[in-house]
Protein backbone atom coordinates (compact mmCIF):
# COMPACT_ATOMS: atom_id res chain seq x y z
CA UNK A 1 0.00 0.00 0.00
CA UNK A 2 1.54 3.29 -1.06
CA UNK A 3 1.37 6.19 1.36
CA UNK A 4 -0.16 9.56 0.59
CA UNK A 5 2.11 12.54 0.95
CA UNK A 6 -0.14 15.41 -0.13
CA UNK A 7 -3.83 15.32 0.51
CA UNK A 8 -6.30 18.12 -0.21
CA UNK A 9 -9.94 18.18 0.71
CA UNK A 10 -12.43 20.78 -0.52
CA UNK A 11 -9.58 23.08 -1.38
CA UNK A 12 -10.43 26.49 -2.79
CA UNK A 13 -8.28 29.41 -3.85
CA UNK A 14 -9.11 32.87 -5.15
CA UNK A 15 -7.64 36.18 -6.20
CA UNK A 16 -9.98 38.73 -4.69
CA UNK A 17 -13.41 37.80 -6.01
CA UNK A 18 -11.98 35.62 -8.77
CA UNK A 19 -12.48 32.01 -7.70
CA UNK A 20 -9.70 30.11 -9.50
CA UNK A 21 -9.46 26.75 -7.73
CA UNK A 22 -12.79 25.14 -6.86
CA UNK A 23 -13.26 22.38 -4.36
CA UNK A 24 -10.28 20.24 -5.23
CA UNK A 25 -9.92 16.81 -3.62
CA UNK A 26 -6.75 14.94 -4.42
CA UNK A 27 -4.43 12.33 -2.90
CA UNK A 28 -0.86 12.37 -4.09
CA UNK A 29 1.09 9.16 -3.47
CA UNK A 30 4.70 9.21 -2.34
CA UNK A 31 7.54 8.75 -4.84
CA UNK A 32 5.39 9.23 -7.89
CA UNK A 33 5.42 11.78 -10.67
CA UNK A 34 2.10 13.57 -10.90
CA UNK A 35 1.34 15.70 -13.93
CA UNK A 36 -1.18 18.49 -13.60
CA UNK A 37 -2.48 19.54 -16.99
CA UNK A 38 -5.22 21.72 -18.35
CA UNK A 39 -5.82 24.75 -20.55
CA UNK A 40 -4.47 28.20 -19.68
CA UNK A 41 -6.24 29.83 -16.78
CA UNK A 42 -7.64 26.58 -15.42
CA UNK A 43 -6.08 27.11 -11.99
CA UNK A 44 -3.38 24.46 -12.20
CA UNK A 45 -0.51 26.80 -11.37
CA UNK A 46 -2.52 28.45 -8.61
CA UNK A 47 -3.25 25.04 -7.09
CA UNK A 48 0.45 24.16 -7.24
CA UNK A 49 1.43 27.40 -5.55
CA UNK A 50 -1.10 26.71 -2.81
CA UNK A 51 0.72 23.51 -1.88
CA UNK A 52 3.82 25.35 -0.60
CA UNK A 53 1.92 28.50 0.31
CA UNK A 54 3.42 30.70 -2.40
CA UNK A 55 -0.09 31.66 -3.50
CA UNK A 56 -0.73 33.76 -0.41
CA UNK A 57 2.21 36.06 -1.24
CA UNK A 58 0.19 37.70 -4.00
CA UNK A 59 -1.83 40.65 -2.69
CA UNK A 60 -5.52 39.81 -2.50
CA UNK A 61 -5.01 36.05 -2.70
CA UNK A 62 -6.87 33.75 -0.35
CA UNK A 63 -7.52 30.05 0.07
CA UNK A 64 -9.61 27.68 2.16
CA UNK A 65 -10.01 23.97 2.73
CA UNK A 66 -7.61 21.27 3.78
CA UNK A 67 -4.10 20.80 2.43
CA UNK A 68 -2.15 18.13 4.27
CA UNK A 69 1.46 17.14 4.07
CA UNK A 70 1.87 13.76 5.82
CA UNK A 71 -1.38 14.27 7.73
CA UNK A 72 -0.19 17.67 8.98
CA UNK A 73 -2.14 20.71 7.81
CA UNK A 74 0.14 22.90 5.72
CA UNK A 75 -1.90 25.96 6.67
CA UNK A 76 -1.29 25.34 10.38
CA UNK A 77 2.47 25.12 9.87
CA UNK A 78 4.75 28.15 9.50
CA UNK A 79 5.23 28.83 5.77
CA UNK A 80 8.99 28.61 6.17
CA UNK A 81 8.81 24.99 7.35
CA UNK A 82 6.35 24.19 4.58
CA UNK A 83 8.71 25.57 1.96
CA UNK A 84 11.68 23.72 3.41
CA UNK A 85 9.76 20.45 3.01
CA UNK A 86 8.16 21.28 -0.32
CA UNK A 87 10.67 22.63 -2.84
CA UNK A 88 9.71 24.51 -5.98
CA UNK A 89 11.10 25.01 -9.47
CA UNK A 90 9.69 27.83 -11.55
CA UNK A 91 8.73 28.37 -15.14
CA UNK A 92 11.76 30.47 -15.95
CA UNK A 93 15.15 29.50 -14.57
CA UNK A 94 15.84 31.92 -11.73
CA UNK A 95 19.28 31.27 -10.25
CA UNK A 96 20.51 34.01 -7.90
CA UNK A 97 22.51 36.24 -10.27
CA UNK A 98 24.79 37.50 -7.51
CA UNK A 99 25.90 34.03 -6.44
CA UNK A 100 28.30 31.51 -7.94
CA UNK A 101 27.08 28.12 -9.15
CA UNK A 102 28.37 26.57 -5.94
CA UNK A 103 26.62 29.11 -3.74
CA UNK A 104 23.43 28.80 -5.76
CA UNK A 105 23.23 25.11 -4.94
CA UNK A 106 23.64 25.65 -1.21
CA UNK A 107 21.67 28.92 -1.27
CA UNK A 108 18.96 27.35 0.89
CA UNK A 109 21.53 26.81 3.65
CA UNK A 110 23.81 29.77 3.06
CA UNK A 111 21.13 32.42 2.73
CA UNK A 112 19.16 30.98 5.63
CA UNK A 113 22.24 31.37 7.80
CA UNK A 114 22.67 27.62 8.42
CA UNK A 115 26.36 27.01 9.04
CA UNK A 116 27.79 23.79 7.63
CA UNK A 117 31.35 22.51 7.65
CA UNK A 118 33.07 22.88 4.29
CA UNK A 119 33.26 19.13 3.65
CA UNK A 120 29.52 18.85 4.18
CA UNK A 121 28.85 21.77 1.85
CA UNK A 122 31.08 20.23 -0.82
CA UNK A 123 29.25 16.95 -0.45
CA UNK A 124 25.82 18.58 -0.78
CA UNK A 125 26.89 20.57 -3.84
CA UNK A 126 28.41 17.56 -5.61
CA UNK A 127 25.51 15.30 -4.68
CA UNK A 128 22.83 17.77 -5.75
CA UNK A 129 24.53 18.65 -9.01
CA UNK A 130 25.03 14.97 -9.77
CA UNK A 131 21.36 14.30 -9.11
CA UNK A 132 20.46 16.77 -11.87
CA UNK A 133 23.21 15.54 -14.21
CA UNK A 134 24.99 18.87 -14.10
CA UNK A 135 28.08 17.97 -12.08
CA UNK A 136 30.23 16.91 -15.04
CA UNK A 137 29.31 20.02 -16.98
CA UNK A 138 30.08 22.56 -14.25
CA UNK A 139 32.56 20.93 -11.87
CA UNK A 140 35.40 23.06 -13.24
CA UNK A 141 33.47 26.32 -13.12
CA UNK A 142 31.75 26.17 -9.75
CA UNK A 143 32.95 29.68 -8.94
CA UNK A 144 31.42 31.26 -12.00
CA UNK A 145 28.12 33.06 -11.71
CA UNK A 146 24.93 31.07 -12.19
CA UNK A 147 23.85 33.32 -15.04
CA UNK A 148 26.90 32.14 -16.99
CA UNK A 149 25.12 28.83 -17.75
CA UNK A 150 22.72 28.14 -20.61
CA UNK A 151 18.97 28.23 -20.00
CA UNK A 152 18.67 24.46 -19.67
CA UNK A 153 21.66 24.28 -17.35
CA UNK A 154 20.24 27.12 -15.27
CA UNK A 155 16.98 25.25 -14.88
CA UNK A 156 18.84 22.13 -13.73
CA UNK A 157 20.80 24.35 -11.35
CA UNK A 158 17.48 25.53 -9.94
CA UNK A 159 16.37 21.92 -9.53
CA UNK A 160 19.68 21.16 -7.78
CA UNK A 161 19.06 24.13 -5.48
CA UNK A 162 15.67 22.69 -4.52
CA UNK A 163 17.05 19.14 -4.20
CA UNK A 164 19.88 20.32 -1.93
CA UNK A 165 17.36 21.10 0.80
CA UNK A 166 16.27 17.44 0.78
CA UNK A 167 12.56 18.23 0.60
CA UNK A 168 9.86 15.56 0.47
CA UNK A 169 7.95 17.03 -2.41
CA UNK A 170 9.17 18.98 -5.43
CA UNK A 171 6.79 21.26 -7.29
CA UNK A 172 7.50 22.16 -10.91
CA UNK A 173 5.62 25.02 -12.52
CA UNK A 174 5.89 24.43 -16.27
CA UNK A 175 9.59 23.75 -15.82
CA UNK A 176 10.43 23.28 -19.49
CA UNK A 177 8.28 25.91 -21.17
CA UNK A 178 11.23 28.30 -21.44
CA UNK A 179 13.66 25.60 -22.62
CA UNK A 180 14.70 24.23 -26.00
CA UNK A 181 13.78 20.62 -26.94
CA UNK A 182 17.15 19.12 -25.99
CA UNK A 183 17.20 20.75 -22.57
CA UNK A 184 13.57 19.71 -22.16
CA UNK A 185 14.38 16.07 -22.69
CA UNK A 186 17.31 16.29 -20.27
CA UNK A 187 15.03 17.72 -17.61
CA UNK A 188 12.33 15.13 -18.33
CA UNK A 189 14.84 12.31 -17.86
CA UNK A 190 15.63 13.75 -14.44
CA UNK A 191 12.05 13.30 -13.31
CA UNK A 192 12.40 9.52 -13.48
CA UNK A 193 15.55 9.59 -11.40
CA UNK A 194 14.24 12.08 -8.85
CA UNK A 195 11.06 10.21 -8.05
CA UNK A 196 13.11 7.54 -6.29
CA UNK A 197 13.64 10.01 -3.43
CA UNK A 198 10.99 12.65 -3.88
CA UNK A 199 7.41 13.11 -4.91
CA UNK A 200 7.17 15.29 -8.00
CA UNK A 201 4.20 17.40 -8.98
CA UNK A 202 4.58 18.90 -12.42
CA UNK A 203 2.30 21.50 -13.91
CA UNK A 204 2.41 21.38 -17.68
CA UNK A 205 0.29 22.59 -20.56
CA UNK A 206 2.03 20.07 -22.76
CA UNK A 207 0.02 16.84 -22.94
CA UNK A 208 2.81 14.85 -24.53
CA UNK A 209 5.03 15.79 -21.64
CA UNK A 210 2.39 14.70 -19.14
CA UNK A 211 2.06 11.40 -20.97
CA UNK A 212 5.83 10.89 -21.17
CA UNK A 213 6.89 11.63 -17.63
CA UNK A 214 4.07 11.03 -15.19
CA UNK A 215 2.62 8.08 -13.29
CA UNK A 216 -0.62 9.83 -12.55
CA UNK A 217 -2.27 12.79 -14.26
CA UNK A 218 -4.73 15.34 -12.96
CA UNK A 219 -6.83 17.31 -15.42
CA UNK A 220 -7.99 20.77 -14.35
CA UNK A 221 -10.65 22.68 -16.21
CA UNK A 222 -12.20 26.01 -15.20
CA UNK A 223 -10.80 25.67 -11.70
CA UNK A 224 -12.20 22.21 -11.11
CA UNK A 225 -10.33 18.96 -10.88
CA UNK A 226 -12.16 17.11 -13.61
CA UNK A 227 -10.35 13.83 -13.52
CA UNK A 228 -7.42 12.26 -11.72
CA UNK A 229 -6.16 8.81 -12.54
CA UNK A 230 -3.21 6.75 -13.73
CA UNK A 231 -1.66 8.45 -16.73
CA UNK A 232 -2.23 5.38 -18.91
CA UNK A 233 -5.94 5.39 -18.19
CA UNK A 234 -6.21 9.16 -18.58
CA UNK A 235 -4.75 9.08 -22.06
CA UNK A 236 -6.42 5.90 -23.31
CA UNK A 237 -9.72 5.66 -21.56
CA UNK A 238 -10.74 8.89 -19.79
CA UNK A 239 -14.09 8.80 -18.03
CA UNK A 240 -15.03 12.44 -18.41
CA UNK A 241 -16.05 13.97 -21.70
CA UNK A 242 -14.03 17.12 -21.08
CA UNK A 243 -10.85 15.14 -20.57
CA UNK A 244 -11.57 13.27 -23.76
CA UNK A 245 -12.05 16.53 -25.64
CA UNK A 246 -8.88 18.05 -24.21
CA UNK A 247 -6.55 15.15 -24.97
CA UNK A 248 -7.90 14.77 -28.47
CA UNK A 249 -7.18 18.45 -29.04
CA UNK A 250 -10.74 19.65 -29.45
CA UNK A 251 -9.90 22.62 -27.24
CA UNK A 252 -6.72 23.79 -25.62
Amino acid sequence: MESTVIKSRNFNASFGSNHVVKNVNIDIPRNHVIAVMGPSGCGKTTYLRCINRMHELIPGASSSGEMKLNEEDVYQMHPIFVRLKIGMVFQRPNPFPNLSIYDNVIAGYKLNGIKLPKAERDRIVEHSLSRVALWNEVKDSLNKKGSFLSGGQQQRLCIARAVAMEPEVLLFDEPTSALDPISTSTVEELFHELKVNYTLIIVTHNMQQAARVSDKTAFFFMGELVEYDDTKIMFTNPKDNRTQNYITGRFS
Partner: protein, 282 residues
Protein backbone atom coordinates in the same frame (compact mmCIF):
# COMPACT_ATOMS: atom_id res chain seq x y z
CA UNK B 1 7.54 70.80 -57.79
CA UNK B 2 7.55 67.58 -55.83
CA UNK B 3 11.36 67.47 -55.94
CA UNK B 4 11.73 71.04 -54.74
CA UNK B 5 9.42 70.37 -51.83
CA UNK B 6 11.43 67.32 -50.80
CA UNK B 7 14.58 69.40 -51.04
CA UNK B 8 13.01 72.03 -48.84
CA UNK B 9 12.07 69.45 -46.25
CA UNK B 10 15.50 67.87 -46.36
CA UNK B 11 17.04 71.28 -45.86
CA UNK B 12 14.79 71.93 -42.89
CA UNK B 13 15.69 68.57 -41.41
CA UNK B 14 19.39 69.31 -41.92
CA UNK B 15 19.02 72.65 -40.21
CA UNK B 16 17.25 71.00 -37.32
CA UNK B 17 20.04 68.46 -36.96
CA UNK B 18 22.63 71.19 -36.80
CA UNK B 19 20.56 72.97 -34.18
CA UNK B 20 20.55 69.87 -31.96
CA UNK B 21 24.35 69.62 -32.31
CA UNK B 22 24.78 73.23 -31.29
CA UNK B 23 22.44 72.99 -28.33
CA UNK B 24 24.03 69.72 -27.18
CA UNK B 25 27.39 71.48 -27.29
CA UNK B 26 25.90 74.40 -25.38
CA UNK B 27 25.20 72.03 -22.50
CA UNK B 28 28.90 71.28 -22.22
CA UNK B 29 29.95 74.92 -22.22
CA UNK B 30 28.91 75.89 -18.67
CA UNK B 31 30.89 73.06 -17.07
CA UNK B 32 33.93 73.76 -19.21
CA UNK B 33 33.68 77.44 -18.37
CA UNK B 34 33.37 76.76 -14.65
CA UNK B 35 36.24 74.29 -14.69
CA UNK B 36 38.43 76.67 -16.67
CA UNK B 37 37.68 79.63 -14.45
CA UNK B 38 38.09 77.86 -11.14
CA UNK B 39 41.17 75.91 -12.14
CA UNK B 40 42.78 79.09 -13.41
CA UNK B 41 42.02 80.95 -10.22
CA UNK B 42 42.51 78.11 -7.76
CA UNK B 43 45.26 75.85 -9.01
CA UNK B 44 48.13 78.11 -7.97
CA UNK B 45 46.81 78.29 -4.41
CA UNK B 46 46.74 74.57 -3.85
CA UNK B 47 49.73 72.85 -2.38
CA UNK B 48 50.45 70.54 0.53
CA UNK B 49 50.63 73.49 2.87
CA UNK B 50 47.15 74.56 1.76
CA UNK B 51 45.65 71.18 2.63
CA UNK B 52 47.15 70.65 6.08
CA UNK B 53 47.00 74.14 7.65
CA UNK B 54 44.16 76.17 9.04
CA UNK B 55 43.49 79.71 7.80
CA UNK B 56 45.77 82.44 9.12
CA UNK B 57 44.42 85.69 10.58
CA UNK B 58 43.99 88.66 8.30
CA UNK B 59 47.27 90.26 7.33
CA UNK B 60 49.32 87.07 7.38
CA UNK B 61 49.89 85.28 4.10
CA UNK B 62 49.53 81.55 3.63
CA UNK B 63 47.22 79.37 5.62
CA UNK B 64 45.03 76.54 4.40
CA UNK B 65 41.68 74.89 4.61
CA UNK B 66 42.40 71.83 6.75
CA UNK B 67 39.61 72.73 9.19
CA UNK B 68 37.03 72.97 6.39
CA UNK B 69 38.21 69.75 4.77
CA UNK B 70 38.03 67.79 8.01
CA UNK B 71 34.72 69.45 8.90
CA UNK B 72 33.12 68.66 5.55
CA UNK B 73 34.20 65.04 5.75
CA UNK B 74 32.91 64.63 9.31
CA UNK B 75 29.59 66.36 8.65
CA UNK B 76 29.00 64.27 5.53
CA UNK B 77 29.90 61.00 7.24
CA UNK B 78 27.45 61.68 10.05
CA UNK B 79 24.75 62.75 7.58
CA UNK B 80 25.32 59.52 5.61
CA UNK B 81 25.12 57.40 8.74
CA UNK B 82 21.74 58.97 9.48
CA UNK B 83 20.28 59.05 5.97
CA UNK B 84 21.54 55.90 4.22
CA UNK B 85 20.01 53.19 6.45
CA UNK B 86 16.70 55.06 6.73
CA UNK B 87 16.66 55.79 3.01
CA UNK B 88 17.42 52.24 1.91
CA UNK B 89 14.88 50.71 4.29
CA UNK B 90 12.20 53.16 3.17
CA UNK B 91 13.08 52.37 -0.45
CA UNK B 92 12.70 48.65 0.31
CA UNK B 93 9.31 49.34 1.88
CA UNK B 94 8.17 51.32 -1.15
CA UNK B 95 9.19 48.66 -3.64
CA UNK B 96 7.63 45.88 -1.53
CA UNK B 97 4.35 47.68 -0.77
CA UNK B 98 3.64 49.56 -3.92
CA UNK B 99 -0.02 50.27 -3.33
CA UNK B 100 -0.38 50.77 0.42
CA UNK B 101 -1.55 54.07 1.80
CA UNK B 102 1.67 54.60 3.71
CA UNK B 103 3.62 54.03 0.48
CA UNK B 104 1.57 56.72 -1.21
CA UNK B 105 2.26 59.24 1.54
CA UNK B 106 5.90 58.25 1.81
CA UNK B 107 6.40 58.68 -1.91
CA UNK B 108 4.62 62.02 -1.89
CA UNK B 109 6.65 63.24 1.10
CA UNK B 110 9.99 62.30 -0.40
CA UNK B 111 9.04 63.94 -3.68
CA UNK B 112 8.10 67.15 -1.91
CA UNK B 113 11.11 66.98 0.42
CA UNK B 114 13.30 66.84 -2.67
CA UNK B 115 11.80 70.11 -3.82
CA UNK B 116 12.07 71.92 -0.48
CA UNK B 117 14.65 74.74 -0.79
CA UNK B 118 17.79 73.93 1.16
CA UNK B 119 17.61 77.18 3.09
CA UNK B 120 14.22 76.10 4.46
CA UNK B 121 15.68 72.81 5.61
CA UNK B 122 18.41 74.82 7.32
CA UNK B 123 15.83 76.93 9.14
CA UNK B 124 13.91 73.85 10.26
CA UNK B 125 17.10 72.26 11.59
CA UNK B 126 17.83 75.53 13.37
CA UNK B 127 14.49 75.56 15.16
CA UNK B 128 14.47 71.84 15.92
CA UNK B 129 18.05 71.30 16.96
CA UNK B 130 20.08 74.47 17.35
CA UNK B 131 17.57 76.41 19.41
CA UNK B 132 16.57 73.64 21.82
CA UNK B 133 20.21 72.62 22.32
CA UNK B 134 21.24 76.23 22.71
CA UNK B 135 24.24 76.16 20.37
CA UNK B 136 25.37 75.70 16.81
CA UNK B 137 26.77 72.23 16.18
CA UNK B 138 28.11 70.05 13.39
CA UNK B 139 25.51 67.46 14.38
CA UNK B 140 22.61 69.76 13.55
CA UNK B 141 24.30 70.48 10.21
CA UNK B 142 24.53 66.75 9.55
CA UNK B 143 20.85 66.34 10.39
CA UNK B 144 19.93 69.06 7.91
CA UNK B 145 22.07 67.47 5.18
CA UNK B 146 20.62 64.04 5.99
CA UNK B 147 17.17 65.45 5.25
CA UNK B 148 18.47 66.54 1.86
CA UNK B 149 20.00 63.12 1.15
CA UNK B 150 16.95 61.10 2.11
CA UNK B 151 14.73 61.60 -0.94
CA UNK B 152 17.53 60.74 -3.37
CA UNK B 153 18.45 57.54 -1.52
CA UNK B 154 14.81 56.48 -1.04
CA UNK B 155 13.76 56.98 -4.62
CA UNK B 156 16.86 55.50 -6.24
CA UNK B 157 16.56 52.43 -4.00
CA UNK B 158 12.89 52.07 -4.86
CA UNK B 159 13.44 52.49 -8.59
CA UNK B 160 16.31 49.99 -8.57
CA UNK B 161 14.44 47.33 -6.63
CA UNK B 162 11.25 47.77 -8.65
CA UNK B 163 13.16 46.70 -11.75
CA UNK B 164 14.24 43.38 -10.24
CA UNK B 165 12.11 40.47 -11.46
CA UNK B 166 9.58 39.04 -8.99
CA UNK B 167 10.89 35.56 -9.81
CA UNK B 168 14.02 36.41 -7.85
CA UNK B 169 12.05 36.98 -4.68
CA UNK B 170 9.95 33.89 -5.31
CA UNK B 171 13.09 31.80 -5.72
CA UNK B 172 14.28 32.93 -2.32
CA UNK B 173 10.92 32.54 -0.59
CA UNK B 174 10.46 29.07 -2.07
CA UNK B 175 13.69 28.02 -0.35
CA UNK B 176 12.07 28.82 2.98
CA UNK B 177 13.88 32.09 3.56
CA UNK B 178 12.28 34.55 5.96
CA UNK B 179 11.45 37.99 4.58
CA UNK B 180 14.35 39.87 6.17
CA UNK B 181 16.86 37.41 4.71
CA UNK B 182 15.25 37.66 1.29
CA UNK B 183 15.76 41.42 1.48
CA UNK B 184 19.27 41.46 2.92
CA UNK B 185 20.75 38.43 1.19
CA UNK B 186 19.07 38.54 -2.21
CA UNK B 187 17.19 41.71 -3.10
CA UNK B 188 19.67 44.31 -1.83
CA UNK B 189 22.83 42.48 -3.02
CA UNK B 190 21.38 42.08 -6.51
CA UNK B 191 20.35 45.73 -6.65
CA UNK B 192 23.46 47.04 -4.91
CA UNK B 193 24.88 48.91 -7.88
CA UNK B 194 21.75 51.01 -8.34
CA UNK B 195 21.44 51.66 -4.62
CA UNK B 196 25.10 52.68 -4.35
CA UNK B 197 24.80 55.01 -7.28
CA UNK B 198 21.92 56.77 -5.54
CA UNK B 199 23.91 56.99 -2.32
CA UNK B 200 26.98 58.44 -4.05
CA UNK B 201 24.95 60.96 -6.00
CA UNK B 202 23.23 62.08 -2.83
CA UNK B 203 26.64 62.58 -1.20
CA UNK B 204 27.82 64.54 -4.21
CA UNK B 205 24.66 66.60 -3.93
CA UNK B 206 25.09 67.59 -0.28
CA UNK B 207 28.83 68.18 -0.51
CA UNK B 208 28.29 71.62 -1.94
CA UNK B 209 25.23 72.61 0.09
CA UNK B 210 25.84 75.87 1.95
CA UNK B 211 22.42 77.07 3.03
CA UNK B 212 21.53 74.26 5.45
CA UNK B 213 24.86 74.73 7.22
CA UNK B 214 24.69 78.52 7.63
CA UNK B 215 22.79 78.43 10.89
CA UNK B 216 23.49 74.87 11.97
CA UNK B 217 27.18 73.97 11.66
CA UNK B 218 27.82 77.74 11.49
CA UNK B 219 31.52 77.56 10.64
CA UNK B 220 34.65 77.75 12.75
CA UNK B 221 37.97 79.40 11.98
CA UNK B 222 39.83 76.69 13.88
CA UNK B 223 40.19 72.98 13.45
CA UNK B 224 37.50 71.19 15.45
CA UNK B 225 36.46 67.56 15.48
CA UNK B 226 33.84 67.93 18.19
CA UNK B 227 30.48 67.19 16.63
CA UNK B 228 28.60 69.08 19.32
CA UNK B 229 30.49 72.31 18.54
CA UNK B 230 30.38 74.61 15.50
CA UNK B 231 32.47 73.23 12.66
CA UNK B 232 33.84 74.61 9.42
CA UNK B 233 32.97 73.10 6.09
CA UNK B 234 34.14 73.78 2.55
CA UNK B 235 31.04 75.57 1.24
CA UNK B 236 30.80 77.66 4.41
CA UNK B 237 34.44 78.64 4.14
CA UNK B 238 33.94 79.65 0.52
CA UNK B 239 30.86 81.67 1.40
CA UNK B 240 32.47 83.51 4.29
CA UNK B 241 35.87 84.10 2.74
CA UNK B 242 34.68 85.05 -0.74
CA UNK B 243 32.43 87.75 0.70
CA UNK B 244 35.22 89.14 2.89
CA UNK B 245 37.16 92.25 1.85
CA UNK B 246 40.61 90.61 2.06
CA UNK B 247 42.58 89.38 -0.92
CA UNK B 248 44.30 86.56 1.00
CA UNK B 249 40.91 85.23 1.97
CA UNK B 250 39.69 85.42 -1.62
CA UNK B 251 42.62 83.26 -2.64
CA UNK B 252 41.69 80.75 0.02
CA UNK B 253 38.11 80.68 -1.26
CA UNK B 254 39.29 80.04 -4.81
CA UNK B 255 41.47 77.16 -3.72
CA UNK B 256 38.66 75.71 -1.63
CA UNK B 257 36.28 76.02 -4.61
CA UNK B 258 38.63 73.99 -6.73
CA UNK B 259 38.94 71.31 -4.05
CA UNK B 260 35.16 71.16 -3.71
CA UNK B 261 34.74 70.89 -7.46
CA UNK B 262 37.32 68.12 -7.75
CA UNK B 263 35.62 66.27 -4.90
CA UNK B 264 32.22 66.33 -6.61
CA UNK B 265 33.76 65.45 -9.96
CA UNK B 266 35.61 62.53 -8.40
CA UNK B 267 32.45 61.29 -6.68
CA UNK B 268 30.54 61.33 -9.95
CA UNK B 269 33.24 59.44 -11.84
CA UNK B 270 33.70 57.00 -8.97
CA UNK B 271 29.94 56.36 -8.98
CA UNK B 272 30.05 55.47 -12.67
CA UNK B 273 32.95 53.06 -12.13
CA UNK B 274 31.41 51.42 -9.07
CA UNK B 275 27.99 50.94 -10.63
CA UNK B 276 29.53 49.36 -13.71
CA UNK B 277 31.79 47.12 -11.68
CA UNK B 278 29.16 45.97 -9.19
CA UNK B 279 26.35 45.55 -11.65
CA UNK B 280 24.79 42.11 -11.26
CA UNK B 281 23.93 40.61 -14.64
CA UNK B 282 20.37 39.35 -14.39
Amino acid sequence: MQASHVKYRLGKSYGFQILTYILAFACVVPLIAILFFIIKAGVTKINWHFLVNIPKPVGETGGGIANALVGSILIIIVASVIAIPIGIMAGVYLSENRKSRLAYWCRLSTDILQGVPSIVIGIVAYFWLVKPLGKFSALSGSAALAMMMLPIVVRSTEETLKLLPDTLKEAALALGMPFHRVIFKVIIPVGISGILSGVMLSIARITGETAPLLFTAFGNPYLSTNLTQPMQSLPLLIFNYATSPYNEWHDLAWGASLILLLWVLFLNIFTKIVTRKWKVQL
